[in-house]
Symmetry: C2
Subunit: 451 residues, 2 copies
């Protein structure tokens, strides 16, 4: 049994939905289908989810909302017409939407219920369409599927008991179409996952039904080895391991919602990234192991901006037992997550995401460090970027760090920080953010063009 998830651009129009139906029906193993809400049909288009958010905000604020409600209904109406389906579903959807916006719910619950309508309606549309094509198909509501989540509006987390319930779906013979993006709490409240949460639903369903494969259909051919906005037309990654994928999506670009794949990874379900528009292309296969680590120690380069370094120096720091622990404790108590903490003999740096450190927070932390640790210096350097070189073969291949360091040097980029040695599959470099593109381009050249 395969689980296939289709993202927003794959379900943006009747034309796209026809491709989706063709993909689904071409493989009898594709039995569990998870869908997003209709995405953009062209660059100026608005996603259905964004229309629903507008609807929620306008209605909550007492503003006029009929216009945006019509836009939503028109969007689905057009899809139904173009697929040759009855428009009777539209009345049902309009009733539901009007009932939500006129309800006495709190803001967050109203927003979750509205946002979910995009996926929910599309799942019904697709299931109807498959039926009209002559296939046995059912729409399956997340509650019926068994997706039980925590009570955190807009950032629900799946509860473990869901997996056992989802496994029951294996008993059904028809093609099941499940809306992505939301689940239900134990006391029957609808809760949405974080944005991009259809990927989460797909991953959860794949884990629950113990799928032989989780196929994630999107609008790119595969995972690229480097951010395509930095390097145009980069090479595609054919095979990736879970670990590699996790490190790659951590530090920046990714075709996925961050950490969406974790349920599938934990259940050791292989994941295939495919393009809805070119389903015969190879795509990227992500699994526990890959066959080709030899000769290709590095699979990808991830990068992200928005980091800062908190630098602390104190003469004879290395004699002071507990210094590092105390510094990290101050940050923990001030609710700051850190990424890395390289240290010298008399100094230590802590790398963190910049957005955590507001000016007020910064003042508090600097004062606490000065008072509690009696340091000589504490300074903050903002505008750092992190670059991560990822690959399973790295830790046992001599010369990877040499090649990387040479690439930085040949782009005349100074390396501010290197963190290597704990992860076996990644090596991290810190540089000034304004040199990011040059550095990444040079690394790409070294590892994927010359190498």
């Amino acid at each position: 049994m395969k689980v296939a998830k289709f993202g927003g651009s794959s379900v943006s129009s009747a034309e796209q939905l026809k491709k989706v139906a063709s993909i689904i029906t071409s493989d009898p193993q594709r039995k569990c289908i998870v869908v997003s809400a209709p995405g953009k049909r062209h660059s100026e288009d608005t996603k259905v989810t964004d229309l629903l958010i507008q609807l929620g905000e306008r209605s909550y604020n007492g503003d006029e909302y009929e216009t945006v409600l019509s836009l939503v209904l028109d969007r689905f109406g057009e899809i139904l017409t173009d697929l040759g389906l009855s428009k009777s579903l539209l009345n049902e959807v309009e009733d539901q939407l009007r009932s939500i916006v006129s309800g006495e719910t709190v803001y967050t619950h109203r927003m979750d219920a509205l946002k979910a309508m995009g996926e929910d309606t599309l799942a019904k549309v697709l299931s109807q369409y498959l039926t009209t094509l002559g296939y046995d198909s059912s729409y399956v509501h997340p509650k019926e599927a068994g997706i039980i989540v925590s009570n955190e509006p807009g950032r629900a987390q799946v509860l473990d008991e869901s997996y056992k319930r989802l496994y029951e779906l294996r008993k059904r013979d028809e093609i099941l179409v499940i809306p992505g993006f939301f689940g239900y709490t134990k006391d029957d409240q609808l809760m949405a996952f974080p944005r991009g949460g259809s990927d989460i639903t797909g991953s959860i369903v794949a884990a629950g039904v113990k799928a032989s494969l989780y196929e994630n259909f999107t609008d790119v051919d595969s995972v690229y080895c480097v951010n395509p906005t930095i390097v145009p037309n980069p090479k595609e990654i054919v095979e990736l391991t879970y670990k590699e994928m996790r490190e790659l999506s951590y530090a920046g670009f990714s075709v996925f919602h961050d950490e969406a794949l974790i349920p599938a990874f934990k259940a050791r379900i292989p994941v295939s990234i495919k393009n809805t528009n070119y389903p015969d292309r190879k795509g990227t296969m992500i699994s526990a192991e890959r066959s080709t680590t030899k000769g290709q120690p590095v699979v990808g380069i991830a990068s992200d901006e928005g980091f800062l370094s908190l630098y602390v120096s104190k003469y004879l720091m290395n004699r002071e037992k507990g210094f590092g622990r105390h510094l990290l404790q101050i940050l923990e108590e001030e609710d700051i997550s850190f990424e890395h903490a390289p240290s010298g003999i008399d100094d230590m740096s802590v790398i963190m995401r910049s957005d955590q450190l507001t000016p007020e927070k910064e003042a508090v932390i600097v004062k606490r460090i000065e008072d509690e640790l009696s340091v000589d210096t504490v300074t903050i350097e903002r505008n750092l970027a992190m670059i991560m070189i990822v690959g399973e073969g790295m830790d046992s291949t001599i010369g990877v760090s040499s090649k990387a360091a040479r690439a930085f040097a040949s782009a005349s980029v100074n390396i501010e920080m290197i963190n290597q040695g704990s992860s076996e599959v990644s090596m991290m470099f810190g540089i000034k953010a304004d040199r990011l593109n040059d550095a990444v381009q040079s690394l790409y050249q070294a590892f994927f063009v010359e190498g």
Copy 2:
């Protein structure tokens, strides 16, 4: 006013003491002289300090000790004779030694008092010799000089009030000869510094008198840029900064007792390393800044074995606020100092000196980490070596890490760990200990021969 300290080999014989006197009297600014106890005259010789330790142990255990007492007296007797001095000092020394070994003191106090006799006697000899040469010279007892220390036998630490007292020595006109290695507590107890402590005395005196220069005379021409047991006849370092010296002496080889120079560094006194046998050679100058960072970003390579890495992995570790702090806290509570803590997304390593982790300690720590942090894996990798590349120019010079990484690669040495980015003057690499020599030789070649 200059402070000059002469080490054990510089004062091992009358012949050496003549060189010392000639050095002292060739510069009228050399007014404060600190001496060690007589060291080895040849490779099979025994240092006077070691004879005194034997004397202490034998007498304390009730064993026969006249033989070793005679060896000590003979050694000084020979020096006195060869310098043409009266042997009357010998009786005084014998009386003092007999009084210490027959005293009712605790073991540690007896040992400190005995060990101090080597330096103390030699200072008297040298002062007498300078006087017979026609120079105005006084022996100055550390108590008289004002060296006040903490009450920690064998590992005394200087107290801050010493510096003010030592400054009074500036009022004196003659050449002052001060025995190194020991001071006095506030309640008048003799306490020795840790072994090698004549360097400490020299450094303290230089700081106290606010010397224009602290000259450390030894039996090497200078500080070498790499451990000479790994690279024969390495290049000499002409200029070093305090920071560079501190990083170099931290991780292994050094001509100094670890951290002996700290008092001089803190007082910003320039330090000159010279060879007693070739006093006209340039030696090494250590000061707050050096003139030649341009074009020579790296001044030295330090290396040491005996490290281990404690590796911990846990899926989704990076989401867990406080994980790193908790891990370091367990180590702190178990009295373990760590050197570095590189981290990945789902893993963290802690590098520490191996000798701290006995099998019992290891068992306790591994269990605590498993119990308290619910990790997936905790493993320990022993037999690691650390290599530190040191230089003030490093952090602003593009290509240093590239050159270093290339040197490892060309020696076919895999880099297990890189820690760069906190210290501005060093970059640290972890490798397997059995590859240390190859790696250091290759780095030397890259930075000091080719570069």
